[in-house]
């Protein structure tokens, strides 16, 4: 570890910055220093202000107070272009791609290699894209439009875009939230490479193994305030959690054993050409079934088809013995299904509508009296659920889009838990959720299972899969490669099946 006093001047210094949105104070009085060649991790609960800080560095928000210095020079980042020009590359928490543009153009927009007369050199563009993606071990077709990419692929494109910038400072806001271990490990290797070349990195994650595996320094935020900054080797996960949350957190994966009841959901031979093939599984009351697999294995597509938002070409879905009509989420809901989708911003929430409108959306008829809905009823209901899930918000009448990523995820959970389903399907339920709430969500899952709910969980986090599942169905390239009992499974057996080598495990 280099001696800080002998180190070159910090690449970037934030001094006592603050930012509020109307009545909500997102960040107050935070200072932060990034050094070349070092990874600085930022930890904090959902809504602690991490992304707000990132957006200040990205030139999206201007701080209300405080200063920013680059290489010792005070600087004002007027807009994203200015931040980019200053050598700051940002991976935002929510990937925002251009759905109609090719992956290559998404990476190199406004920077496309040009040839004669300033015309874009498409061959060079494609080659550069392939090279960038290869760094992350991704083999997406550069000419493919970004529309329809899974969240994970979108995240990877967003990462590749930032990495392709010739930047000195990299700001990464939960880049791995949607990724599975393999991709995350590859990203870690790339980050280390960047550091070796002298870049400064700000890294945000809710996964402690990543933070401690990568970071040199760790800053903890709470309620928009700076709590502490320490070298990573002087901290333990427990101390960080205590500083983040201000109390001790219950155990992750508090799986209580249950005795499974009757089969409620039965899927047989489900096929959708080009996505998944001949998938069969069943879930019983009180049971948690995990769908595991690498990113892009087709897990999300399976559960979407089951719930009826996607069509399928063959197979049947039965709930409690009754066949479910294809392609009708309303029918699925009536039969007691609930789906917490993986993409909370596109599929889970109506960002422009208020929190209370969002939580009510799944139960409009039930909340109405004599066919009429009142804001008062919606609000009371929303307050109940947001308190239960400890959502940090500036009032239930504020647009859902103003909530922090993790808090948005909680709203999605709330609106589906509130339907009191018989079968709860969760697609990446804890993506972007902080450690305290994660424990809470897991406790809730166990509790619901214990009360007789059948749960199907898609997760890219192996520890979560291993910790929570009664049974694990592993998918590889759209086909089921193994069904493993939860307690007996290990990371190795799951990974073997997920990469298409089930070995002796099946």
């Amino acid at each position: 570890m280099p001696d800080p006093t002998a180190a070159p001047p910090p690449a970037l210094r934030l001094h006592r910055v603050a930012k509020s949105f109307g009545a909500v104070t997102a960040v107050s009085d935070v200072s932060l220093t990034l050094h070349p060649g070092r990874v600085h991790a930022l930890a904090g609960e959902n809504g602690a202000g991490k992304s707000t800080l990132v957006r200040m560095l990205a030139g999206v928000h201007r701080p209300d107070r405080g200063t920013l210095e680059l290489d010792g020079h005070p600087t004002v980042l007027r807009d994203p272009a200015a931040a980019r020009a200053a050598g700051i590359a940002v991976i935002h928490q929510e990937p925002t791609l251009f759905p109609d543009l090719s992956i290559a153009e998404n990476l190199y927009l406004s920077r496309q290699p040009t040839g004669r007369l300033g015309r874009i050199d498409r061959r060079a563009l494609r080659a550069a894209t392939t090279a960038q993606l290869a760094r992350l071990g991704v083999t997406l077709d550069p000419d493919r439009p970004a529309r329809g990419l899974s969240i994970a692929d979108q995240q990877l494109v967003e990462i590749a875009r930032a990495l392709s910038l010739d930047a000195r400072i990299f700001v990464m806001d939960e880049p791995t939230a949607a990724l599975s271990g393999t991709e995350a490990a590859r990203l870690a290797a790339v980050v280390r490479g960047l550091c070796d070349r002298g870049a400064a990195v700000l890294f945000i994650s809710h996964r402690f193994e990543e933070i401690f595996g990568l970071a040199h320094d760790i800053t903890v935020l709470r309620d928009g305030r700076h709590v502490s900054t320490d070298p990573a080797d002087r901290l333990t996960p427990d101390t960080v959690v205590r500083r983040m949350v201000g109390r001790d957190v219950g155990a992750l994966y508090p799986k209580t054993p249950t005795t499974p009841g009757d089969t409620v959901l039965e899927v047989t031979g489900l096929t959708r050409h080009g996505a998944f093939h001949d998938i069969s599984f069943s879930v019983r009351r009180g049971e948690i079934l995990a769908l595991a697999g690498l990113v892009g294995a087709g897990r999300s597509e399976v559960v979407r088809a089951v719930f009826g938002v996607d069509r399928y070409d063959a197979g049947t879905v039965t709930v409690a013995g009754r066949p479910l009509p294809a392609g009708s989420p309303a029918a699925a809901m009536a039969a007691g299904l609930a789906l917490v989708p993986e993409d909370r911003r596109q599929q889970g929430l109506v960002l422009q509508l208020s929190v209370e409108r969002n939580t009510a959306l799944t139960r409009l008829r039930r909340l109405a009296r004599h066919g009429l809905l009142t804001t008062r009823r919606e609000r009371a209901d929303a307050l109940h659920w947001t308190e239960r899930l400890r959502v940090r918000h500036g009032g239930t009448h504020t647009p859902a889009g103003t909530l922090s990523g993790g808090n948005q995820q909680k709203i999605v959970l709330a609106k589906w838990l509130a339907t009191e389903p018989a079968v709860l399907i969760l697609d990446e339920p804890t993506r972007g959720i902080d450690i305290g709430t994660k424990a809470e969500v897991h406790r809730m899952m166990s509790e619901l299972a214990a009360r007789g709910l059948a749960i199907v969980m898609v997760s890219s986090e192996l520890p979560e899969v291993l910790g929570m599942a009664d049974r694990i169905l592993v998918l590889h390239e759209g086909r089921a490669t193994a069904t493993l009992p939860g307690p007996g499974a290990t990371a190795e057996t799951v990974m073997a099946a997920a990469t298409g080598h089930p070995g002796g495990a099946a």
């Binding site: 809901m333 789906l339 599929q347 422009q352 409108r357 008829r365």
Partner: protein
């Protein structure tokens, strides 16, 4: 400041916009009453309200459609076709009750065609309804050609132009007002209304929440057609003339009124009170300016400027107050 799209600072501004619009309406009315000869008379009020009926009626379903992020430009042609068919059936001897019912049913059918193209085949509503705008108007000419059917019974034409509530309000306006109130409740206080806003803001999230997006839109187009058919009946009886070109160009006036009323053309935002104020403001201004002998060119310029102001003003308000921005 980064150019963030003007998404969800929504409700508050919108409510302010509503009240501002209503205040403007009252102000304009007051000013006209003081400054324009012949404006503040009972007869003129009736003329004015009658002029507002067709636009107001059609604006109701169009508002609902625009809230879901779609649009229907074929309303005026639907009106024309229903009027033409009404004339044709009347001359071929059908009883008028049946003729009226058929016209409304035909409107619903034409709306269903729009709905089918939009929701069934997934085509953009703007393109589809530009197509049916031409097609329905063309069919109207096929049905009635250059003829005008004028011999509708006096009892009916008088009833449509007549008054209710002791002669205070045109009967047709009363019907429109009741319909508007119904629509307001539907949009702002029922499960259906809530889902319309959800669809308009994010159709995919609405679908994931179990809302039958396609089916809802389809029925909206159907009802829009039916109401346009009804407006066709009104038009025919009010002018005692069934013609193929009835209501030509009305679609722009309706869209203008809806947008003036603060409904976002991208869907997901708007109030029915705003639209009603928008309709009345447009009609009142036209009436007052006409009475003041302002030439038609200037009327167009005023209408256009009003539209531009209607979107710039709330933006200016927000900029002044610097309310928080949504992240997107």
């Amino acid at each position: 400041m980064p150019a963030e799209p003007p998404s969800g600072r929504g409700a508050a501004v919108l409510r302010r916009w509503d009240s501002a619009l209503i205040a403007t309406l009252l102000l304009v009315t007051l000013a006209a009453a003081l400054a324009v000869d012949g404006f503040a008379t009972g007869r003129n009020a009736q003329f004015l309200l009658l002029d507002a009926v067709a636009i107001g009626l059609v604006a109701l379903p169009v508002t609902l459609i625009v809230v879901t992020g779609e649009i229907d430009l074929s309303v005026a042609s639907t009106l024309g076709l229903c009027s033409a068919v009404m004339g044709q059936l009347w001359v071929s001897g059908w009883p008028l009750e049946l003729v009226v019912l058929t016209a409304v049913a035909l409107g619903a059918l034409l709306g269903a065609v729009n709905g089918l193209f939009v929701t069934g085949f997934g085509l953009p509503a703007l393109a589809v309804t530009i197509g049916t705008l031409a097609a329905y108007r063309g069919l109207a000419f096929v049905v009635l050609g250059d003829r005008a059917v004028a011999d509708f019974p006096r009892a009916w034409t008088d009833a449509v132009g007549g008054t209710a509530l002791a002669g205070a309000v045109p009967a047709a306006m009363l019907v429109t007002a009741v319909a508007a109130a119904g629509c307001a409740v539907l949009l702002h206080a029922t499960p259906l209304g809530r889902s319309l806003f959800a669809i308009g803001n994010n159709a995919e999230a609405a679908r994931f929440s179990g809302i039958a997006v396609a089916r809802t839109k389809f029925w909206l187009f159907v009802s829009c057609g039916a109401v346009s058919g009804l407006a066709g009946v009104f038009w025919t009886l009010r002018y005692a003339s069934a013609r193929a070109d009835n209501g030509q160009g009305l679609e722009l006036a309706v869209v203008a009124a809806v947008l003036l009323g603060g409904v976002s053309i991208f869907g997901g935002r708007g109030t029915l009170a705003g639209v009603c104020a928008g309709v009345l403001l447009l009609v009142t201004l036209r009436n007052a300016l006409q009475l003041a002998d302002v030439p038609a060119d200037t009327l167009d310029i005023v209408t256009g400027s009003l539209l531009i102001l209607s979107v710039l003003a709330p933006r200016a308000l927000t900029a002044l107050r610097r309310t928080p921005t949504t992240r997107t």
